[in-house]
């Protein structure tokens, strides 16, 4: 049951990043609870179906949110979170994220909105490199556990042992880049932009309003939850029983939020065509990690 905490807590993460970013930039900013207020406001508004759209446009937000909810159920909270009816496989998680991307991009085609399609095309292009990097980062995390079971991978990453392995550091670097791509944060994408021409993740959301938009914004927050929790579990220090590792997980996620805010404050958005080169650096590091692990065992 605790695995479903993410459904409620996920909007806190982008809220916390925005709050920390405002503080770092010397502004007061909104509170970390602002995403909840936005969701409540959207829930009360009516939806808009642009002329000519059909069932794909209307179902897509629900499907995207459902995919992310399933992903939340698959991601374990600490190594002690037990059995899930949906399994705990890392690659199933990738499939669900891909289905969410498909639904959002197909909805963009249904609206025939050039800006939505521009965002969708860019997002899917980045996903090509992002998926390759993600699978390599997951491979590095799977090496000690010899399994793609996320709970086993979390257990294998516990304690001080992994930190003496170069493979762990390589994996952490690769996964950090994956976090930037999946959460749509600078330098890959700018979540604060409202200029149609520069939007990536926000692009396919352009036509939506009301509860549809609430689903999609919740899904964006849930994507933060999935990658930040995984990042903290697989690549940040944690040990001990359920209580201790839960507390360390919360600390790790908070640290990652602070890191995202810091990167977003210090780093300007990158030219989109340069991003694949950045991700390729992560891929090379991941392959080096595989070599060092296999040669060392």
């Amino acid at each position: 049951m605790i695995g479903l905490a993410g459904i409620v807590l996920a909007p806190l993460l982008p809220g916390a990043v925005q709050m920390l970013k405002a503080r770092l930039q010397g502004r007061r900013g909104a509170s970390a609870l602002q995403p909840y207020r936005a969701l409540r406001r959207l829930w009360g508004k009516s939806t808009v179906d642009p002329e000519g759209t059909g069932a794909v446009y209307r179902t897509a937000p629900a499907l995207v949110a459902a995919c992310l909810a399933l992903a939340l159920a698959i991601v374990p909270l600490t190594a002690h979170s037990g059995w899930s009816p949906l399994g705990r496989d890392a690659l199933v998680l990738m499939g669900l994220l891909a289905l969410a991307r498909f639904a959002a991009a197909a909805a963009a085609w249904d609206t025939n909105n050039g800006f939505a399609l521009m965002g969708a095309a860019r997002e899917l292009m980045l996903a090509v490199f992002g998926e390759a990097l993600l699978v390599l980062a997951l491979l590095l995390a799977a090496l000690p556990a010899h399994s793609t079971d996320l709970a086993a991978m979390t257990a294998a990453a516990a304690g001080a042992g992994p930190w003496s392995e170069p493979a762990h550091w390589c994996g952490a670097l690769a996964f950090a880049l994956v976090i930037l791509v999946e959460t749509g944060r600078q330098p890959v994408d700018n979540p604060d932009t409202h200029l149609e021409l520069t939007m990536i993740h926000e692009g396919p959301l352009l036509e939506y309003a009301g509860r549809d938009l609430a689903y999609l914004q919740w899904a964006a927050a849930a994507r933060h939850w999935v990658v930040l929790v995984l990042g903290a579990e697989l690549f940040l220090p944690h040990w001990g029983g359920f209580g201790a590792s839960l507390a360390l997980l919360a600390g790790g996620v908070a640290a990652l939020c602070a890191a995202l805010a810091l990167v977003e404050t210090a780093q300007a958005k990158m030219r989109i065509l340069r991003v694949p080169a950045l991700l390729a650096v992560g891929g090379a590091a991941a392959l080096a990690g595989v070599v060092s692990w296999i040669a060392g065992t």
Partner: protein, 629 residues
Amino acid sequence: MGVIALAGAAIVAAGAALSVWSARGGLALQAVGIALLGVAGAAVLISGDVLGSAFSAEISPAFGLDPLSGFFLALLAVTAIPALVFAHAYLRTSAAPIAALGGAFLLALAGVVTARDVSTFLAAWELMTLLPAAAILVARRDAPVRSAVQVYLAITHVGGAGVWIAMLALAGGGPAALIAVAALIGFGTKAGLVPLHSWLPRAHPVAPAHLSALMSGMMIKVALYGLIRVELEWLGATPGWLGYALLALGLLSSLGGVLWALVQHELKRLLAYHSIENVGIVVLGLGASLVLARTGQATWSAIAFGAALLHIANHALFKVLLFLGAGAFERAAGALELDRMGGLLRRMPWTGGAFLVGAMAIAGLPPLNGFASEWLTLQSLLHVALDRPLGAAIAGAIALAGLAATAALALLCFVKVVGLVLLGPPRTDRAAAATEVAPAMRAGMVALAALCVIAGLVPGLLLPELARLAPGGATLTRHPGLDLPGTGSLPTLAVAAALVALTGALVRARGARKAAPAPTWTCGQPVTPALNWTSAGFTKPLRLVLESVLRPERELEVVRDAGLVREIRYSAHVPSLVDRHLLDPAVRAGLRGAALARRLQTGNVRTYAAYLLALVIGLLALARTGALG
């Protein structure tokens, strides 16, 4: 079971003959016969019996049926019956010869997978190559089609020489390395592995829809059957390099196929390139299986083999579906160019819905069948990368990243196809007036879409049967989902049920309350057709990023009149690098060689007499020295 199979084959033959008089009756009879063949195949697959002869090097014809042949026969039936039902309503012009040739083509396919001696195998193999070429030429005779068929026959015969060499060397007890290389080239050409694929995107799109479907769905699968049979079984000891060679070819084919598919703007051509991609995924699974067998992981080796066979089955299902859908759209909207369709999901809900299922399945999305087999292949490659030796681990990691990128590229490509064909506004008047196709055509596609869903829900029922066929066969427990050691398990039924239930609940919670309809936001401009996105536009970011790989070519022509720019013409295309750097030089070298050889033919009788005399003297000299034995 042998009797049923023979009866089935006889009925298919009778159906092919009957087609000459009555195309529709012939097609129905062919469907009955192929169903019997499929039943026999499925029964053999489940029971594990071996009927008929084993492999022999004799000249006398020998046929046999074992679980591997049974799997391919059952798959042939499952895909051919919907295709025949579709053809029943689809075929209009020259229906009789096409139906007859199609029936013979089915028999040839069944012949290849049941042949147990070299001569029968080669005979069925050649018929399988020639019959669709004949059917294409019956259907259409314009110059581009003739040229496509010529390229098809030329490349598959030059490459197909590899099959002849491999089979004859096998019969004569030739060296194993020669057989392995020759079989890889021969069967690889027919399966469409990069860089031997150039014929495939030319030949598959020009055939009538149901034959395109069977060529892409079954013919290249039968080539993979040949590869598996010869390399993994008849060869005896499989050479150690083969696993790595298959991984490299599989990676090249999957990435190359999908990248070239992305830059195609014609639906059937795009689907043909995706066949190359999917053959690549199958070959990655086979390569992983061989490497895992050598590193001593018998269970995962068998799972990887099962993953490859499962992907063969899944790809046959959704590729036949997609080609039939393309035929239906061509009939309804009058075009195959992606930019000339649009909005067909609303105009053709049955065809469009089935096509959407097929597109999502080939893009590897849960909970459909493509995801199950791609997940298994990814897991197999990941398990190659988990263990020593270092070379295997690096190869596995690179292939793993490549397959993940392939899946994401396929997603990008099929979002584009779905968006341009099914969604948005109609792009032409023909597309705006499109109507749903005949019920028989719909039935074939809907049945295949249902099979894609079912195969995605219960892949775990089939996987143990397929993993058992691996050379080092393993026994897996049978339950609907995929619960394998070393994974977090994929409970397909639970994932699908949760996805459907949750999406339904969220759609209900969304309610139907909505504001007045609004036009799409275009910064306040009126929405005009000129603002429609195109196939080329959607893939532009990727083309820019991969410019060094794809080498797109652009032409910009500015028409000036008295110093004023009147018109700017812009055209861009992505050339096929394999055609340019491999095929074209090979063709030029071949033509030069032919020109040299032609000098021997002077037309002068005395020269020919001199040749004969030289030959006789040469033979006599050889006989004298004892070189002829």
